[in-house]
Symmetry: C2
Subunit: 151 residues, 2 copies
DNA sequence: ATCCTTGCTGCAAATCTTTGCAGGTACAAA
DNA sequence: TTTGTACCTGCAAAGATTTGCAGCAAGGAT
């Protein structure tokens, strides 16, 4: 696995090995803090800035997926080449779900053909409303409309 | 225009009026700082936190578009209901271009039908590589591969 | 015109992330 | 094995954005 890192043109350092291991072990999406704490345990003196830089490198190398939780912090997870997917994040409650890249392929092609832009939809985070919050929202809206009419 | 704000359930305050005006005037995508400086000139004592909160409100009210420049800061612009569009941002050079929402409609529908998630693609920022940077990137990659073989 | 409620603002501090710099080190080359 | 040079790291400080809180004020109710 570190070989993939090297192939991508990065040097192999203890920090990178540990951080990669932490991300690989901790299933799910971990925050930078979580990675920092877990990795710091095995590598005292590790610096948070290094964690961010390393995670960025791992992301660029295609080993790690990045997810913006629309809450002001980023989350990281091991990339599974078998299940490439984009993310859907609810901007109300923060819930996340996955979106198979196959759904996005046509769009990416379209964009590239017509604009020359290489959209990286596979690593994309789409925000919106999850089913539950969407329901709440419409309820609240109709409440507001109702109240407004009453007034 | 302030009426739209009120309709959306927000109060009309001097801060909001000025900030909305600033965004409306300054064509293009302004940073929070820019809005803060411009608005602060007409409303001394205005606080940066208020600018952020207000811009968020205006965004929720659908009056302002939000654009993540993938450079660690956000940019704001007046929403033009005539030209709804998503944004493409180059994660190398930061160049931005627009993407008509019509291209995204089918995808949004698909997502909603199959997952119930209401993706807000119209306000979305897609990252990737602009044509120029994409060219550079492939060049650099082949250089690296070449070098590696030589070695 | 006045009152009341609730949302809004300023301020200060917290959070999350990035950046500049000086020293350290992986790793290709000799 | 030794050397040289980028590339990395730790540290500290800057940047961008958010949040808690107490007082203020917009605008519906009276």
């Amino acid at each position: 696995m570190t070989e993939a890192l090297r192939q991508a043109g990065f040097r192999i350092t203890p920090q990178r090995q540990v951080i990669l291991e932490v991300v690989a072990h901790g299933r799910g999406h971990q925050s930078a803090q979580q990675v920092y704490l877990a990795a710091g345990r095995r590598l005292p003196g590790l610096n948070l800035a290094t964690v961010y830089r390393t995670l960025d490198s791992l992301n660029r190398a295609g080993l790690v997926d990045l997810l913006d939780d629309t809450r002001g912090s980023l989350r990281f997870s091991l990339r599974d080449p078998e299940h490439p997917h984009a993310h859907l994040v609810c901007c109300e409650c923060g819930a996340t779900s996955e979106l198979p890249v196959t759904w996005l392929a046509r769009l990416a092609q379209d964009i590239h053909r017509r604009t020359g832009f290489e959209a990286d939809l596979g690593h994309q985070t789409f925000s919106g409303l999850c089913p539950a919050c969407a329901r709440q929202q419409t309820t609240r809206d109709s409440n507001r409309a109702h109240k407004r009419k009453e007034a």
